[in-house]
């Protein structure tokens, strides 16, 4: 209590943040109770009929839960692996460019997609892939091939989603890796040069290992949110196109649809709670393992 009085100004300054997270994050946690009810908008929170684990049982038996989990984790793994590898490669190549203005220009261009909204991304996809007049079909026609209805080919979207994820996020991760490369002391390269290491050796034996810690930090950060999907990306690309759900539905899109389209509140809450819990267990496990291996990298 003494501390509260002594540092009351600091407490007051922190108070808005504390209240914000109390309302925005902690209060809704009470609402996970909906997952165990037959929800009805007319009832209050605790008046809705209790149905136990029925919602989860349905999600499990219909195979929805398995499919959503596999999709969510699968996409995220692809994003993490490809995203980092390509960003590292591009950052290294960009850092080797001699011309300074060219370096700045290309970096700015690669960072551009990060700044536009996902709605614009959906406009781009529409522009390129719509059946009647899309750029892709126009190109095909020029080569004498018939048009392709991309919107009815579920497998293609796996690659498109990954491609557009990379397109949008490459610039961002590249900036971080570039910063790390800039931080490497010039002396290492000079010494290696004197010892006769050529440029590829210098990159492979100096630059790449020096990026390890940045990579691990980013990796762990993204592993922690592997159950959280890129909702904007998936929803803007796929929308409510039921033909593609099998390969493109993730937990976040399912929850959103259950809430806004099919109004299945109990089910949506159940799926959301499952996502939260699964993610929580995953991040705790990952953190525990990292602690055992190397304490420095632990998230908390």
């Amino acid at each position: 209590m003494h501390e509260l009085v002594r540092n009351r100004v600091l407490f007051l300054m922190l108070l808005p943040a504390l209240l914000f997270f109390l309302i925005n994050s902690y209060f809704p946690m009470v609402g996970v109770y909906y997952a165990f009810t037959q929800f009805d908008f007319n009832y209050g929170l605790f008046d809705a009929p209790f149905v136990g684990l029925q919602n989860f049982e349905f999600l499990w038996k219909s195979g929805t839960l398995v499919r959503l989990t596999l999709n969510t984790i699968g996409y995220n793994l692809a994003f993490i692996v490809l995203g980092n590898v390509i960003a590292i490669a591009c950052a290294i190549l960009l850092s080797e460019l001699r011309s300074k203005w060219f370096k700045k220009l290309t970096q700015s261009i690669m960072f551009l997609p990060y700044f536009v909204s996902f709605v614009i991304l959906s406009v781009i996809v529409y522009n390129v892939f719509n059946y009647d007049s899309g750029f892709f079909n126009t190109l095909l026609a020029q080569f004498g091939a018939g048009p392709v209805d991309v919107y009815s080919k579920p497998v293609v979207w796996i690659f498109l989603i990954i491609l557009f994820y990379l397109w949008k996020n490459l610039g961002y991760s590249m900036v971080i890796y570039l910063a790390a490369i800039t931080g490497i002391s010039e002396e290492y390269y000079e010494a290696a040069k004197i010892d006769g290491a050529h440029i590829f050796q210098r990159i492979w034996y100096i630059t790449v290992p020096m990026l390890k810690s940045t990579f691990v930090v980013l990796l762990l950060f993204s592993l922690g949110s592997i159950m959280k999907g890129q909702f904007d990306l998936f929803y803007q690309l796929i929308g409510n196109n039921g033909l593609l759900y099998n390969t493109t539905d993730i937990l976040d899109t399912y929850v959103f649809r259950s809430l806004k389209v099919t109004f299945d509140i109990g089910m949506a809450t159940a799926a959301g709670l499952y996502q939260s819990l699964f993610g929580f267990v995953l991040i705790m496990t990952v953190n525990y393992i990292i602690r055992k291996i190397n304490d420095d990298y632990a998230l908390f």
């Binding site: 100004v9 614009i120 781009i124 007049s133 750029f135 259950s258």
Partner: protein, 297 residues
Amino acid sequence: MTIKDDRYTKLLQGLAYTVTVLVSLACLIPFLLILSASLTANESIIREGYHLIPAEFSLEGYKTVFTFPDEVLRAYGVTIITTVTGTALGLFLMTMAGYVLARKDFKYRNGFSFYIYFTTLFGGGLVPWYIMMTKYLQLTDSLKALILPGLMTPFLIILMKNFIRSAVPEELIESAKIDGAGDFRIYWRIVLQLSMPGIATVGLFLALHYWNDWFGSSLFINDPHKYQLQFHLYNVINSASFIANMGAGTGISLGADLPTESTKMAMAIVVTGPILFLYPFVQRYFVKGLTIGAVKG
């Protein structure tokens, strides 16, 4: 040895230029496609599809957008209001929180840090939050619903805390205290002045979030007059009957042969234009701020 080295260096230079040029083109061409389509006559698009260079130049797409500018302008207004208020308020609150958590003599800082960080580990999910916002806080169709949720994120508070820690030496705060400055005064007069690059970065993250937000409108706004810019665009792209609706509100019949395809693309350009225009200036601060943050971990 040096000859071989030279050859490898040249090879790498070639590789570096080729890859960066190709990746840059891949990042740029989608925007050019939209721009080109927005400048193409609609019949030409319907007949021959989208091209990289307009097959038949026309400004009719833009003309249609600005025939009834009310909706776009209103959406612009909503987005500007939410972006400015949200960014200013969010910055004020998050710099304060970051400052308090960065103060080593604040006893419970670790506990409070965890209280904030924990919300990234576990949450109630979208649905309980949605019901709280609409049913208990009654924020449907209120601009508050668009501003409040994005005000603070644990990530940005922690980023701010790290910025302040690295920018403001502990001794400076100590000596200011000895000179009799209060905690808020130290924050206002010293901490804020010294952490400008960090504030710029966090501010940009916030502004970008608000400017690009469409999700808030799709969840909480039923009144089309309060749609954010991005959600307005989303509706234009996704509703085939857009033109018909736009005419219906004004009592003017527009007929069926209006440039819908090029109008959609013109709308996308009108929505993104300002961002692309500001981008070269904004981008530099962003890179600078991210670089500081990345080096400091």
